[in-house]
Symmetry: C2
């Protein structure tokens, strides 16, 4: 467990393909090449675009391209674009909404672990995968 969502996984695959071509690619091509369903690709690319990971171009000959070089886009950037801030537990992100937070003294430890995982994922670039 401790799995990332399928959409986030797909997002990496799509981003990797964009990086490998280096040009503007339409959703239809992305879907064909990656075998990810068209409507799903559409949803993913929208999120990536809204989070500045890719640039989008409308109209004829439109499509998407990476906003940066594949070597400078990190795994955590794409992950967070798809799923929000990295937080291994409730208390790490929101300043503790957890019901038992008053009686729990693990928050500090979780934050530390969270930072370490963040560090790993931010040291891995798209091209490293």
């Amino acid at each position: 467990m401790l799995k990332i969502g399928k959409l986030a996984d797909y997002a990496l695959v799509l981003a990797e393909y964009l990086g490998s071509t280096g040009r503007i690619v339409a959703i239809s091509e992305l879907s064909q090449e990656t075998h990810i369903p068209l409507a799903t690709v559409r949803k993913i690319l929208l999120r990536l675009s809204q989070n500045g990971i890719v640039y989008s171009y409308r109209g004829v000959n439109g499509g998407y391209e990476l906003a940066k070089a594949a070597s400078s886009i990190t795994v955590v950037e794409i992950l967070e674009a798809m799923e929000g801030p990295l937080s291994i537990t409730e208390c790490v992100s929101t300043g503790s909404e957890c019901k038992i937070s008053k009686y729990c003294n693990l928050q500090r430890g979780w934050c530390s672990i969270n930072e370490k995982i963040f560090s790993i994922l931010s040291r891995t670039s798209l091209s490293d995968l």
Copy 2:
């Protein structure tokens, strides 16, 4: 995101309490002290017991205690006891059930990341939290 389940989180809290007392503790006490609902505590401790993290004792004065010293129980042990093997993506664990695995070349990278996260979580002991 990339969150662990609440039950796993609770499991750490419960294990930490067990470690702090060093004696046999009944479910009722665990529930009272941690403010985790009784039935939920029962479910969690059962899993921990089945996975050898804690010893259980039935009958009057029964309860649970850690099977090892808190300093030698790792976070990943408890996590995996609660949620199964650590695997950040489908392809890491099961040898790839993923539909697009034939067209995806990220598996190697995910495995590497998974190992690094595993390493972090196995270098953190219960007493470190």
